[in-house]
Amino acid sequence: MKFGIFFEMSTPRPFSTATDLLVYHNSLEQARLADELGFDWVWCVEHHFLEEYSHSSAPEVVLAAVAAQTERIRLGHGAVVCVPEMNHPIRVAERAAVLDVVSRGRLEFGTARSSTWTELGGFNVDPDDTKKTWDEFVRVLPRMWADEPVAYDGRCFSMPERNVLPKPVQKPHPPMWVTVTSPGTELDAAERGLGCLGVASTTYAEQERRTREYHRRIQSCDPVSTCVNDQVTTLNFLYCHEDADVAAATGMRMVGLFGLSNAHLLWTREAYPTRAYQSLGNLSPAGGSDRASPGDPRGIPEGIGVGDPDRLVGVIRRWEGIGVTGINFLINTSETIPQEEVLASLRLFASEVMPKFQESASC
């Protein structure tokens, strides 16, 4: 089992330079600590215009800073929005390769297509087209990273022969992932040989069904490149404290606030009817935060990483048992938890919970 931290750069009102500095530099400090503690990944999302929920509009810049301040932790570019109005595919290939070079081969490359009207409408993107452009991006990017030179004649863009430079350190290219929000996207990932980067809260039963189907499909995939990434991760919250009551009170405050700000996004389907977007939201209440865990005296939803170390070991064992190979944690929302407490939670998790899974891995 691998563990990551996941940055949305959620930001409380009132917005100010001081708040932006606080959010970004707290995140960088968290990344440095996660590196020291042995976390596997630090992921940084790409979102645009999402007030409060996510001010993470240039993750490649954040990850470059993380690369410069850390030694070992892998950098999750999670995920690049694969629509040409937002990111030209050549620039995507170049930026990713440079990140892999400056980090000495630590890049994980996530792909996505954006889910909100706020973002798609802001860039004048036709929601009907995003699945098509995403599919085109994930097939051509490996060629740009491996071929010298490469030419491409496609639907969303074309290019004559050019050598896209530099080439990534990792050969043939960094591991590729797909963010999975809507049910069924895990199958798109499997069929292309891409890792399943879960960003939607699910129940154990639903995740087990999805993971089983993903692993079944990827056995016969038609990969977009010569390498297959068959990892399955989920997104979770993390607040770990010795006192279970304190953990529940603090952690659930974060969970609730995240769910509220998530629910306030203007999802594409609400503004623009299209078969290309079937679901509303990711960690929305329907999927997560009001999902009572049977028998939990503190009302913590099933599968949520909030509690004392013993509870978290149990929760992660369940995820591990259904085939999840990694968990990425949101560790704060809108600075609702003071930075020192966030760092203490990470330290406690690393000392009391992570070793249990390193042991099982070595067995």
Partner: protein, 240 residues
Amino acid sequence: MLSGTASLDELAARAPNMPALDVDAVAFEDVEVMQAAYEMDYSTREVCLPPGLHPTTPPLMVVLAWKVPDGPFGAFTMAQVRVSCRSGVRPRGFVAGCLVSTERAAAELRSRWGFPARPGPVRLDRFYDAVVLDAGPGLHISGLDPDPMGAGDVQYTVTTTLADTPRGLRLVQVEPDYELRRVERIRPRLDHFDASAWDAPALAPRHPVSATIGVGTLSVPKLRFVSRPDIMAFEGTETV
């Protein structure tokens, strides 16, 4: 978290009276349903909503029209101007204004569900390649180039109205269910909009986003929830 800043006193002054909350369910057959969404200026985000509701970003004005050929209220056509919002974490459409083609239907919509309905001229006309909604001097919109799509691909958001109820001033949750047998997406055009004609001067639709036209059965079940307009839904929701 942003919340509405509209004056409750001003909203209350034009809130319809609902003598009872325990109203019967109603169904209408062969209803034509048009929905059109327009982005509004950010400056209008909070000012159109009561404090108990939260705006979306960008703010979205949605025009909803029903053309009902027959039923318990007789034949009528309704045009409703609403603002997309959230009640707690739930998506809602807050009704800012409502025009109905007959006195009888307007009275029913006011008393049953708290729609701020006024009688007035409303027409929804379907042509081969266009749909036109004409709601008196306040609204004229067109939908062009119909393109068939699945009925399940359209989202109709639950309606919230502000009404004077037996429990006092309340946000009333009205949950129409649309079973449409045919839906087409149409390219929206805003030909004319006069916010003052809707008693909602802050409404400022700018950027057309989407529109649909469908036909099928419209059912409005019994009311289940109301909430206080002055506090968040987590604290102010009441069961009917």
